[in-house]
Symmetry: C2
Subunit: 208 residues, 2 copies
DNA sequence: AGGGCATTGACCACGGTGGTCAATTGGCAT
DNA sequence: ATGCCAATTGACCACCGTGGTCAATGCCCT
């Protein structure tokens, strides 16, 4: 079944994958129609169900693909031995923005999958999602040097605050970007803005 | 049409409103079925369409109701002359949690309405949502005393950070509460946790 | 008794769904 | 050329739930 799909030429695989990612991420599992997917991919309905037994199987194949595509790169590129939380988070954000720009549909798919509500897939999905988040967080927060912080500061909470600040900033940016296409974004400006926030927090929390 | 609805006894109005709020907030506009709403409200289909011309009209009536119920109270209770951003945000969060507990469905409705994607209502809705957020933010950030901050600090960004920290904390809590019923929550513990974060930020940003 | 509003729920046309399968195509070995 | 088999098509299916209607009924007041 699915071996047939894997024997396809790479670009045909990708055409189908991208079409499905797009439709699922725009409509959510239940609303996403296989009709729209095949139209978007430029193949016939029959062929899709020749490769995947049913909608659910297709969805979870995509989920696996997306996780592999994004998370593996994320975990791989985030340097394991960076001990400065600011540098680490800066790196993580940069990487995240890079991934969003390079694989917008993959990223969106994972995001909507995270909030998926459909009963048919929710339980299974929730389990995977938890693992995913946990591995992401551990990659970020592992091996952080607490001794760089001012004495008497609650380091765990301080780190949490730094993280929330970056998360908030990220969401604010995404709100701004809704209209624009990703290419038109001046990443230098964005990073400079981030660094301003980091600077404030560094002065607040780090030994001078 | 709708005058007939307004002439109903309060508790019947509320039964219908609550049913509709619940279904809309759980399923989103398009997925929400009028069948389910009337079943939940314990009335017949015909009656619903006797009060509201169509689904859309019902939805926007609910939206107005929800805004009135929540925002008016929020704006009214948030003291206009509090100049300390920490006190103001503490008040705002407390108020927000209180509203979530007292009107969970109303709150959820507004939240899902904010992320609504359905083309039939999105444009109109987006407009209202923007106004809503703007008025909320201005209520919070108006009349803040910048002179309480340490010299040389970028106050605007510092305030932003404080806000993001609280927002992040709030989201983290909501994640935790997903399982629990709102009544089982120990609000004192939550507030104490908040105060710990506030304390850290205060030390970081305020003149001592 | 009867006028008139509140209320019912069976009914409708419709659109779209996930999935199937007999028929066709296309490429390759003979 | 021929035969063969896998890749591919798209018309087709049964099904479901939808938003909305409307003739009929219930109920209350005069």
């Amino acid at each position: 079944m699915i071996e047939k799909f894997l024997n396809l030429s790479m670009d045909k695989q990708e055409r189908i994958i991208n079409a499905a990612l797009k439709v699922f991420s725009q409509q959510g599992y239940e609303q996403a129609s296989t009709n729209e997917i095949v139209k978007e991919a430029g193949i016939s309905k029959g062929l899709l169900f020749h490769y995947f037994n049913n909608k659910k199987e297709l969805f979870f194949y995509l989920y696996g693909y997306a996780v592999e595509q994004l998370m593996n790169e994320f975990v791989a590129k985030l340097s394991r031995d960076e001990k400065d939380i600011f540098m680490k988070l800066r790196q993580a954000v940069l990487l995240k923005f890079d991934l969003i720009q390079r694989y917008p549909d993959v990223f969106d798919f994972l995001k909507t999958a995270y909030f998926e509500n459909c009963a048919e897939i929710k339980p299974e999905l929730e389990h995977y999602n938890k693992e995913l988040m946990a591995s992401g967080y551990s990659t970020i927060f592992h091996n952080i040097d607490h001794s760089l912080f001012k004495e008497g500061i609650d380091v765990t909470r301080a780190i949490q605050i730094i993280f929330w600040a970056l998360e908030g900033f990220g969401l604010q940016q995404q709100e701004k970007w809704k209209a624009n296409r990703y290419e038109d974004i001046n990443m230098d400006e964005v990073m400079e803005e981030i660094d301003q926030y980091m600077h404030i927090l560094k002065q607040a929390f780090y030994r001078q």
